[in-house]
Each structure stands twice: as C-alpha cells, then as structure tokens.
C-alpha cells in the first residue's frame, strides 16, 4: 500500500476491502482472515508463530487507518465524502488548530474535560471539537471515521508519556 489514491478505503467499503486483499495475498491466510472477522467467525490468534509478512500486514492495517485519519484531520473533502462525514461547516479543519495533531494530548485521556464539565474520553473531545468550534456533525463513537481520527491522533503523539487525567 502507498499514500496514493488507494490509501483511503474504497467508497462504502470502509478500510476492510484492501485490507482483506493484502492479507489473502500472504498465503496461509486462514487464521489471518479469521482475525479480521471474515464471515463472522471467531477470531483466533497466537496459534502459530508470526511471520514477518503477517506483522507487516498488521502494520498496514493500522497505517491505512492513520492515513485516512490524517486526511480527515486535514479536511480532505474526498475522504469526508467517502466516509460520509461533515466534520466542519466553517472551513476550519482539525489541523488548523492542531498541526502535527499537537495539543490534542491523547495520552492525557480519559480525564475531566473543562469544556464539557464532565469526565471525558478522547473520542468525546474529538466530537466536542467537531460540534463546537467546527460546527460540524458529531460522529458515532464507534464509527470508522472516529477510529481513523483516533488512530491518526494517537500515532502522531506516539512516544508521548502516558499521563491520564492530567489537565
């Protein structure tokens, strides 16, 4: 996979279509296909030793979501259309206040969040930013777009010290 047009999931298919292709191509894929939930079967893990190819495939599943989250975070309209989201109505994108996903502090959640006056998760905060400053439409907490945004934010801050609850 690369950062070209195929990086973001195909329309209506979430991220899983390309993911499946990649995993099938590895061969010996029965366990892996189960791991991604094909056919609704119970996922099995750690029954055999991991191969470098398997680990690479796992990484690609993750990075694909990071790239999608990056696009959404930077206000890419194609990505928004594909994911059926409206993250902003003001022309502002998340990255305009959070370059490199700075000041998002994923390592500090969950915590009491002053703006909401309640205990909150990172996903709660993402939705607050979408609804308040950006005047967009909040995401379902377990939606693919939310997971992608979370993936990008956490990846951008990897190496930060876990510090939950810090104001």
């Amino acid at each position: 996979m690369n950062a070209g047009p195929g990086v973001a999931p195909e329309k209506g298919a979430g991220g899983m279509h390309r993911t499946r292709q990649a995993l099938v191509a590895l061969g010996g894929a029965a366990v892996l296909l189960a791991a991604v939930g094909v056919g609704g079967e119970r996922a099995l893990a750690h029954k055999e030793r991991h191969t470098p190819e398997q680990l690479k495939a796992f990484e690609e599943v993750f990075i694909e979501q990071v790239k999608l989250g990056d696009l959404l975070f930077h206000g890419d309209p194609d990505a928004e259309k594909r994911m059926n989201t409206q993250l902003s109505r003001t022309g502002m994108a998340c990255a305009m206040c959070h370059p490199f996903a700075s000041d998002t502090h994923p390592h500090e959640f969950p915590k009491f969040q002053e703006q909401m006056n309640r205990f909150a998760t990172l996903r709660d905060m993402i939705n607050w930013c979408i609804e308040k400053p950006n005047e967009g439409v909040a995401l379902s907490a377990d939606s693919d777009a939310m997971k992608a945004l979370e993936a990008y934010i956490v990846w951008s801050n990897r190496g930060s010290k876990l510090d939950a609850g810090r104001h």
Binding site: L71, D78, A79, H98, P99, S102, C129, N157, R158
Partner: protein
C-alpha cells in the same frame, strides 16, 4: 543533548558573544515590569520566567524625543463570506479598533495572510474591509496571499515588497519572506489550487522550507541599511520570524543566519513578525524579535524551540472564536515606544505553567504527518 539543541547552542555562541545584548535603547522598563506584576498580584510567579517576560512592553529609543504610535494586524485568513464570516468579523473588529486609536496611530502595518487560500474573492474582501482604516497603511505578504497566482492579485492591490521608509528617526523595513519558496509544483504539474493547498497546510511536508529572504533581497537589505547610522533604531517587519524557532512549520526563515550577518552591526534592531499566531519574544545577537497575534486563530506553541525569553500566553478557550487572538498596538511614552498585545481577553500571559500554552505540552512528543508524503497527494483541494 540532541542535534537540534547542539545546533541551537552553537548558533547562540556564535551570534551572542559574551556580554553582548541588544542595545539599551530597546530595553524593557522596570517600571512596566513591576506595574504588570503587581497588577497580576503574582510578582513571584512572574519572576520565575526570568527578567524578560514582559514581551508586551518593548521600548525603542526614538531620536529627538519624538513620539508616535503604529499598529500591527496580520493573519486574518479571510474566507469568502459564504464559507465563514467568523474570521471576517474578527478582522473588522481589529481594523475598527485600530482606526479608533486615540491619539491615532501614524500607520498600520498589515503583516500578511490576509486571505486563506489566495482567492481573489478573499483578497478583495480584505481590501474592502481595510477601507475601515483611514490612516497610512503598509503591507507585506503572507504565503496564503501568494501561491494561488504567485502574488499577482496581492501586488495589484497592495504593492510590492521589500520597501523601507524613515519615520521620526526610525528606519522601517518591510520584507517579503514568502515568495521565494522552492518550486514543488512544476515537476508534478500541480494546478494553482493544488499548489496553494499544500502551501496552506502549516504542517504539510510538500512545500518544504519555503520561508526565506533570498539572495536578492539580502543584497537589497544590505544596501538599504548602508546609509543608516548603526546606532539608530531599525524596525524590520516580516511575515515569518527572522530566527529559527520551528522549521517544520516554517516558524523561521531558512537564511536567517545571513539576515543576522547584515543586521549585526546595527545596535538597535527590532523584528516584528506574524505567521506564528502566538505571543513570542526572542533576542539573538543585537536583534529583538516580537511575534504578533493573529486575528483568526491561535497556533499552539511548537513542541520545541520556543525561545526561553518568551513568557507564554495563556491556554485559550477553543469554544470562543474571539479568544487568544487580536492585534498589536505600539504606543509612545515619552521618548519610547511601547508594544502591547491587544488580545480580546483579560489575561494575556500565564502566571503558572498549568495555565500556559507551553506548560500544556508537557509529555508531548509529535511526529510529522504521513498522508502527504507520497505522490499523488491527497488534500490538494484546499
């Protein structure tokens, strides 16, 4: 100690020789320091930031005791009104406040990024609301104004840069630090909109180290200053800071060392810049540097490189579009000029780390973005 820190220390050793400080004529006054500390009721807290936290008060000696004031507005980032009137409202407020200054300012310097995407509609809108300001206006461009049509519309409306003029004993210089970016568009056959989209993403990796003064403008600067006495005040306006703060966001000009070589003989140099959308203050060699507010939105402090002489601004409320933004008023007091951040809130500076824009970033480690590193790019719509 990492490579960046080693480089910074080496630069400091080279440019700030032992005992060398900016000329006393640009000193911050003790009077103001005490006054503000007492106002805040936290002199001890303020002292922990050192002796130079009062970036909102900068005094510049003015020849012959003449006094005057001028105003800075920048980074309005206007969208067309049908997209977003929020930024328009804030720009209008700033311009109205500039016009209402009493006694009036001698001139307004607009420091770039009038438009968000260089759209002629945005630039015309900016020119229209700038009519609110009747005093003399001078302009330098920002990258958002430039890269749709490579400055054609901007220059038609606001003239060319660089420029200089002398006013009541001060030589004012306006630089163009945005138009000499490396050509990242021709080989990839980008449309003007694609080119502008990459330029408009602060944390993008495509446009590269676009901020620079350039060989030709360095020569111009050197020539322009050659006729000016070395102990007389010089104020240099630039969109980007004339030092290295955080290159990944072009919080610098790439040839700032050459700029300093030219400015080094002058003992009273003040750089006033935009682009960073935050309270900033630095001293390098004999040059002081003040970062001004945007009217549009505040950028967070970069993960590293914040000058130790900066007393950080407060964490602002992201739910209030008028918080953490504003403009700059440089007013005269006796023989000096005082620079004041006009931020539309009660407190500008944090008294404690927990309330500071920098203190908020403890434990934060950041990576550059990933989705724009390969070709073809996404995000070229903006």
């Amino acid at each position: 100690m990492d490579e960046l820190e080693r480089t910074r220390r080496e630069i400091h050793r080279e440019l700030a020789r032992p005992g060398e400080r900016p000329a006393a004529s640009t000193a911050i006054t003790r009077r103001t320091f005490l006054h503000r500390s007492l106002l805040a009721g936290a002199a001890a807290g303020a002292a922990t930031y050192g002796w130079f936290p009062l970036v909102n008060t900068l005094d510049v000696a003015v020849a012959q005791q003449q006094t005057f004031k001028f105003a800075w507005v920048s980074d309005t980032h206007l969208y067309p009104k049908d997209v977003n009137t929020r930024f328009v409202d804030k720009a209008v407020r700033a311009f109205k406040e500039v016009q209402a200054m009493s006694p009036p300012a001698d001139f307004l310097i607009f420091g770039g990024d009038l438009a968000q995407l260089g759209d002629p509609v945005e630039l015309d809108l900016g020119a229209d609301i700038l009519k609110e300001v009747k005093i003399r206006k001078v302009f330098i461009p920002g990258e958002h104004d430039w890269y749709l049509d490579m400055g054609k519309k901007w220059e038609a409306l606001f003239g060319t840069s660089p420029w200089s003029f002398d006013h009541k004993g001060v030589r004012f210089i306006g630089l163009d630090t945005v138009s000499r970016g490396p050509d990242y568009w021709t080989a990839k056959k980008m449309t003007p909109r694609q080119r502008m989209a990459h330029m408009s993403a602060l944390d993008g990796s495509v446009a590269g180290a676009w901020a620079g003064v350039g060989r030709d403008q360095l020569q111009w600067l050197s020539t322009t200053l050659s006729s000016w006495p070395k102990d007389r005040p010089v104020v240099v306006f630039s969109h980007n800071p004339l030092y290295e703060y955080y290159p990944p966001w072009n919080f610098w000009v790439r040839d700032w060392r050459e700029v300093h070589e030219i400015l080094k003989p002058y003992t009273s140099v003040t750089n006033v810049h935009g682009h960073t959308h935050q309270v900033l203050y630095n001293e390098i060699g004999t040059m002081r540097s003040i970062g001004m507010l945007a009217t549009s939105w505040p950028w967070p402090y970069a993960p590293d490189g914040v000058p130790v002489l900066t007393r950080p601004m407060v964490r602002v409320d992201p739910g209030d579009p008028f918080d953490g933004v504003g403009w700059g008023r440089l007013t005269a007091g006796g023989p000096r000029i005082e620079n004041e951040y006009v931020m539309w809130r009660k407190d500008v500076f944090a008294e404690a780390a927990v309330d500071a824009g920098t203190g908020d970033n403890v434990n934060q480690v950041l990576q550059p973005r990933i989705a724009d590193r390969e070709w073809p790019f996404y995000g070229e719509h903006k």
